[in-house]
Amino acid sequence: MTLLELKNVTKHYSPAVAPALADISFSVNEGEFISVIGPSGSGKTTLLRTINRMVELSGGEITFAGVSISRLRKSELRKLRSKIGMIFQHYNLVDRMSVIENVLHGRLGHKSTLAGILGSYTLAEKEQALRIIQMLGLDEYINKRCDQLSGGQKQRVGIARALVQNPKLILCDEPIASLDPSSAKIIMDYLKNISRDLGITLLVSLHQVDIALKYSDRVIGVNRGTIVFDGKPDELTRERVSEIYGFDAGDLMINLGESEGYAS
């Protein structure tokens, strides 16, 4: 079942420079774990952000759960965003607030303006947040301020905030780029669990080819704003990788055979 469909999506930040996205089309089925790989500046980040309209499209069309998103009005856009979780490279938490408060921020999309301003949540919402926090192994830190957490813990809070939205899709923008290898593995394992056990669709941008191969059902390779590869991990050959990354592929390919360390 198709959850998300992009048709001829383009994005120009300025008419003077080359487009960030040029004629991107692909569709995503419910429950898929998709990695988007490509060199820095290739458009991965822009691509993810067009899906929840954090970045406005210049052309083309995106359909999410049967609804075309590009012409949604303000309140409809809020509703759309509340169904799509997002995880960031730099976690984007409110550092001075506690873990539970940050997780509950995921409910703001469902709240009235006043309730959201006052930060008053229902008992059901709090219980759900607690279950998710527990699931992510953060129960000891519930009332800790987020600036006291390690990077890996912060990213787990970020995941919890996305999960508490009850999303159909989670967009992960370089979720492990700021983490050390062991924290990165923990985060990727959690994402895999979320995809497998909760059936949530994941679209993850990564710059480590080996990790993308290890964890995902499908890999999309982006270069200069266009899709140059879209297929199963085992179809990704050396030649295709060098097509995605250009000339430096040799170094990356060494990792292809050594990715056992990341097994889930």
Binding site: N52, M54, M86, V94, L108, G109, T113, G116, I117, R161
Partner: protein, 261 residues
């Protein structure tokens, strides 16, 4: 090569200090500052100060009066700062990168802040005096205007420093504009904002003396009255009381700052 670098640096330093000295000489000529008199009167002032500028027993009788004026000055400073802070915060939110409604708001907010901040306090006081005469309102409004400009700029910088990452995250969950402000921007920037508030109150207590001088209110007026009546003992009592107030205020705000930052 090496020698050249050293020579160049020495030449630069020479030019820098040369210009500095030249400008100083120019400034002395323009302002008609009497260097010799400056030095001699500095000594004279200390001799005179030691002989006259201390509160004596008789002047202590004025203390209740002075304290009442001091109370007015402190209250006006706090009220002017707090009231200005409310308006400043609104303008700063409208103008900051992460929270602005439109790009152009930043420039407008900056312009307004700059206008109010750079407008001389004397001009505010003089113009307000014309209509509000010698009332506490004159002092309050004059301080309000200056604080509004300063705080708007300070708050804008604070909010910009907090950055827009958490705002972006909240927007992505479908949160409304006001949610991002109350759940992300304010919680992150409030400690710094409070710190600026306390700083502004300190500054305003000092500036209130000047404004009081011009508008005939508060502790500045007390000093003026005693000073012009050659009652230096009472005038020095005003100085002592003011110094103590500012020092206490500084200590309190440093303590609060340590707790919140």
């Amino acid at each position: 090569m090496q020698v050249d670098v050293f020579r160049k640096r020495r030449n630069n330093a020479l030019i820098f200090f040369g210009v500095l000295a030249l400008l100083t000489a120019g400034a002395i000529v323009v302002t008609q500052y009497d260097v010799e008199k400056g030095f001699t009167s500095l000594g004279k002032a200390f001799v005179w100060g030691a002989a006259n500028l201390y509160p004596d027993v008789k002047s202590l009788a004025k203390l209740p009066d002075i304290l009442a004026k001091l109370r007015d000055t402190v209250l006006i400073s706090v009220a002017a700062t707090s009231a200005a802070a409310v308006f400043s915060l609104a303008l700063a939110l409208a103008g900051s990168r992460a929270t602005r409604i439109h790009r152009s708001f930043t420039l407008v907010a900056r312009g307004i802040a700059s206008f109010f901040r750079n407008m001389p306090l004397v001009a505010w006081a003089m113009v307000l005096m014309l209509a509000f005469s010698q009332s506490s309102l004159t002092g309050f409004l004059a301080l309000f205007m200056g604080s509004f400009g300063f705080l708007t700029r300070a708050f804008m910088e604070t909010i910009d420093e907090v950055g827009d990452s958490s705002v972006e995250a909240l927007k992505a969950t479908g949160a409304a504009y006001l949610h991002t402000i109350f759940q992300a921007v304010l919680p992150s920037s409030l400690p710094q904002i409070v710190s600026w508030l306390l700083f502004m109150i300190e500054t305003n207590i000092r500036d209130a003396t000047l404004v009081g001088f011009l508008t005939g209110t508060g502790i500045g007026f007390s000093f003026d009255v005693y000073y012009k009546a050659f009652n230096y003992h009472a005038a020095s009592l005003v100085v002592v009381v003011t110094v103590l107030t500012v020092l206490i205020m500084e200590t309190v705000s440093n303590t609060v700052r340590r707790m919140i930052l």
